[in-house]
Symmetry: C2
Subunit: 374 residues, 2 copies
Amino acid sequence: MSAGTGTPTRSGPTSAVPGTAAFATAVEQALTAFFATRTDSVAELGPVFTDAAEALESFVLRGGKRTRPGFAWMGWLGAGGDPAGPQATAVLNACSALELVQACALIHDDIIDCSRTRRRFPTVHVDFEQRHRDRGWTGDPAHYGESVAILLGDLALAWADDMVHDSGLPPAALARFAAVWARMRTEVLGGQLLDVHGEASGDESVAAALRINRYKTAAYTVERPLHLGAALADADPALITAYRTYGTDIGIAFQLRDDLLGVFGDPAVTGKPSGDDLREGKRTVLVAEALARAAETDPAAGDRLRAEIGTDLSEQQVGALRSLLTGLGAVDAVEARIATLTEQGLRAIETSSATPEAKDRLRAMALAATRRTA
Amino acid sequence: MSAGTGTPTRSGPTSAVPGTAAFATAVEQALTAFFATRTDSVAELGPVFTDAAEALESFVLRGGKRTRPGFAWMGWLGAGGDPAGPQATAVLNACSALELVQACALIHDDIIDCSRTRRRFPTVHVDFEQRHRDRGWTGDPAHYGESVAILLGDLALAWADDMVHDSGLPPAALARFAAVWARMRTEVLGGQLLDVHGEASGDESVAAALRINRYKTAAYTVERPLHLGAALADADPALITAYRTYGTDIGIAFQLRDDLLGVFGDPAVTGKPSGDDLREGKRTVLVAEALARAAETDPAAGDRLRAEIGTDLSEQQVGALRSLLTGLGAVDAVEARIATLTEQGLRAIETSSATPEAKDRLRAMALAATRRTA
């Protein structure tokens, strides 16, 4: 029953480098093999459940950069994990299970954010809403779609654990992994909860926005994945500390870059309409910085920012808000934060005991995450 | 960090009998000890998350009969588990983790069913909707409440696994437990999904209603909990088969009794308004049996049943529908099913290798579940 009992093949997962298409393919193969192990228990409940589970599988396999498995795999390699060794397949399976946690997070987040599309496809709740509508069923199609999406997100979360248990890891490695896995899930759910709460309560502080970045993004995307890889390799505490510093700093810097691109990014490069984050009213560190500065120097600018974000802004209004954010010094402040965090994160890795190859790769990943234009 | 490292005390969990208040208290002590192990990682995210986690803890500790841990514990005892032995505390911890899966199921089900109260308290989504309203926050209070409840249900599901990992079980027992745990979670989520689908698509068949009972109730409440206990005790396959037969049959019979009480129960005994299941339009096996019989003998009665259930029925209308269900022979058919299933389930246990004490207790639990009046 375990996907972890397969033998690694020569051309298999273990030679791939995170960030490459080959690595993404290796993760997708591990996920596909796991889904295959669920087929029988799903089929026992009949075709309705089979259809729903297939929708989940399509969602998981539809793409994404496999960032979290990539950092976990790098954490393992950097702590001396041997990609040609006997544990490699089990480690890759366990790392790939992060994509199932991520599937739950995305499916449930899309309900919470009322998002209609993801990766150019309808979100899961919208997909099932549409199936209900097409068949002319009883009740509210939107509520049906949300109900199915809640359950499919739960299934992804449960299956994430099952994939870890079935990964083929030996018990001691599984126990080390489980402790970090527990922290990571609590942190990401807590981060999402702080985000939902902050938006409702109108918390405008920089500290609140940074805290959400830390737990919803940095811990979940970089810090804990690296930590998971380190735990699998039974790394020494000093390397784990270095990974965690790097992960927290680079993870937050990554999100701050994202915030800047959401307002100033070139639509031709990002693929998203310019200024969309302003129209959606996202409470980013950028906006929090601007409001904090406005409170001291220009209260009217703060009032204008508060009044306009989250509304259907014209291109001209977006341009004016960009000037306002820049004029208040918020953009410079965020760029300075990104620079400091990146420097700190890189220094932690440079001075660590990570392998030279891992240092090179993590440096490249940090710069790609914090200096990107899309 | 593990709640499972504590030593069992003389007056502790291990002497309690499932179904008694003492057993419920023992389960609640295990849960309280587990929640205490989460305090630090929750507090790291700040008071907003602490408040939310406390709401989850209150929900979990607020009561319930601890039925699932009870069957799991009985499964372990009946397969020779020693309640005074060194494994007992770890086993009780693992069994108690079922209450966290149940918390997720209830919190998410209450969103799906639009339920406003549970155990006389507001449901989790209604609680947080009200907090939003009381504070006069931004956005839709109902959507806020649902968002928080989705995340707290996810947290309960993640913590259920964490509690199993931290239970103190040795690796081999943990691996046996995990395989059954995986089946159980997939089955209950699949059963909920079939239920949501059946209600929307208007599937009226007896087979569909029985299938939902099997996976949403029987497998999740009796069969797999017993199986989990047996797996912990490393029981032989014949005993596992007997447990599973008993669990499936008694679990379905339990739900059929519930269906009858939902229509014919005495409000003074059940504590619920008489005929509430008819007003809610529940698609039970009882209703499916009636519709199947009406199709053959009295199509007009079927049309009337379809038209009236799910509406705001008067006492008189409820009385008339009761007569209709009885007149069609649906009540007798369901009673006959309960009798057959109970007999089959009891026979499986009688002829099994379960301990004499476990046979007595499981017989009593079966009769209590299938012959009750509330």
